[in-house]
């Protein structure tokens, strides 16, 4: 079997195995569904509750996407500002770090006090996703080849030209790496904020469904919602990886298929 086929097949084999053992365990130990529902029950819940769950998924995905977009635009823009004006870098970077190292779970309740809930959730998604974009873009913008920079200066390139034609393209691999991390994180941020809003919240996202189902001991719906969340995360990762590959595959070593 080729390496490639193995890499595609094995995760599915593992999945099948897990579901099988899970099902067997529930049956063997006669575990009641309000403790651990069998895979079939979860699947049935997924189908039966589909309208409700999908609507919640849409809510969570929308917030995630908005948070991601804000993080991408904000992170890249701020990195450019830092790169162009050192004073801004010195003044603001520490705060970006503080925002990053403070656990978002701890910030969320506070945000929920000051902001209407949807906005607070969005803010959380943004806070966690924004820093990797900023940090990676900054790194990329600063690691431009010195000789290429000298060449641009030799040809009397303006600051603007150096940014657009040299620094941003050179930073693209790092920017995309940052975006890949940010995609997953913005989902996490949205979920954390929804959970923090919890019973108080009037939200209807997937995380809210999980919290709500937990109070009602509707364990199978918790599992179904969790499954959808994971799938959403995986989908985000794949979309961003594909974007990265599309933009880099012709020239960057990380994305080039090595020919031997």
């Amino acid at each position: 079997m080729s390496d490639r086929a193995l890499r595609t097949a094995l995760p599915f084999v593992m999945l099948g195995l897990t579901v099988f053992v899970w099902d067997l365990a529930v049956l063997w130990f006669a575990i009641p569904p309000y403790v651990l529902p069998a895979p079939g029950v979860v699947a049935a819940t997924l189908v039966n509750d589909a309208p409700l769950l999908l609507q919640s998924l849409l809510v969570t995905l929308t917030i995630t996407f908005q948070g991601f977009l804000l993080a991408a635009v904000g992170g890249i823009a701020l990195a450019i500002v830092f790169n162009q004006w050192r004073v801004a870098d010195y003044a603001l970077y520490p705060y970006a770090v503080i925002l990053q190292v403070t656990p978002v779970v701890a910030i969320a309740p506070l945000l929920l006090i000051y902001l209407p809930q949807p906005l607070a959730v969005l803010a959380c998604a943004w806070i966690v996703a924004f820093f990797p974009v900023l940090a990676n873009t900054t790194l990329g913008l600063n690691s431009v080849d010195r000789n290429l920079l000298a060449l641009f200066q030799l040809y009397k390139a303006s600051r603007w030209q150096i940014l657009l034609r040299l620094k941003l393209p050179a930073a693209l691999p790092e920017i995309l790496a940052g975006l890949r991390i940010a995609g997953g994180l913005s989902l996490i941020g949205a979920v954390v904020a929804e959970i923090a809003a919890g019973s108080a919240g009037a939200g209807s996202g997937l995380a809210y469904r999980i919290a709500e189902s937990g109070y009602r001991l509707n364990i199978s719906r918790m599992f179904a919602a969790l499954l959808l969340l994971s799938l959403a995360g995986v989908a985000i990762f794949f979309v961003l990886s594909a974007l990265s590959h599309a933009l880099l595959h012709r020239w960057h070593e990380s994305a080039v298929r090595q020919e031997r």
């Binding site: 060449l151 641009f152 030799l154 040809y155 393209p169 693209l172 020239w251 080039v256």
Partner: protein, 249 residues
């Protein structure tokens, strides 16, 4: 200073912030259309001198005359933009507005033809061999037909066969265009083969130790490379270089 000098350095010194004295009392004159090599041991300040001539670095002392806005520069590494095709890389000087040409793409096509890369216009740098990347870099420096071409050990990383080939190609282009070339190298053989004049430099601090004329007519080809005359000049230049380095020891 001779009337026709394109580049003229008078008592140029360069001291870096960390206190390194890279150049002191460096004086040289390069005439229009001349092919001159700067030859010297590693660390003697050749690159520093070239960067000062190009206007990429400021001299700490002394006077510098050079056509700063009409210069082509070839670095030791190809220094191509990996995200752009060969043609786009060569187009860069026009894109940045440093030079104007009625037909920039025709100029690019011609420059690529000069270095034998016409078929690779659409390739990305990573798809080329080391020698081909160097050619692309040379094409980019040539595309504006600069008055002054500065080359910093452009072939140092290449194998001997490729190096000889590129030496021949470079001379062919130079004879066709007749622009001024300052060529930095630490290879005695390369400097003798290419240049009309060799400035042997000495280190710590860097300055011109002596200069040697190579009054051999062009075109120079393989028969020159294997001639006794060539061997004689190489010996003479080697001795001068040894003396220059002896001054340091």
């Amino acid at each position: 200073m001779s009337a026709s000098a394109v580049v003229s350095l008078r008592g140029v010194g360069k001291t870096f912030e960390n206190g390194t004295v890279a150049l002191a009392g460096l004086s040289l004159d390069i005439a229009e259309g001349e092919f001159v090599s700067l030859l010297g041991p590693s660390g003697c300040g050749k690159s520093t001198a070239l960067r000062i001539i190009a206007g990429l670095s400021e001299a700490s002392t002394g006077a510098v005359t050079a056509p700063h806005d009409d210069v082509g520069f070839v670095f030791q590494d190809p220094t191509l933009m990996p995200w752009a095709t060969v043609a786009d890389n060569v187009m860069l000087p026009f894109k940045l507005g440093a030079a104007h040409s009625a037909d920039a793409s025709a100029a690019v096509t011609q420059a690529l033809a000069r270095v034998g890369l016409s078929e690779f216009a659409g390739a990305f740098p990573r798809e080329l061999s080391g020698g081909m990347r160097m050619r692309a870099s040379i094409a980019r420096a040539l595309v504006t037909e600069p008055r002054l071409l500065l080359m910093d050990e452009p072939f140092a990383a290449l194998d001997e066969i490729t190096r000889f080939k590129l030496n021949n190609d470079l001379l062919a282009v130079w004879q066709e265009m007749r622009r001024t070339v300052i060529f930095v190298t630490h290879s005695v053989f390369e400097s003798v083969f290419l240049s009309q004049r060799i400035l042997v430099m000495t280190a710590r601090p860097g300055r011109v130790f002596t200069e040697i004329d190579i009054p051999v007519a062009y075109p120079r080809d393989e028969s020159f490379r294997t001639s006794a005359e060539y061997a004689g000049y190489c010996r003479q230049v080697s001795e001068a270089l040894a003396q220059a380095m002896g001054v340091v020891a």
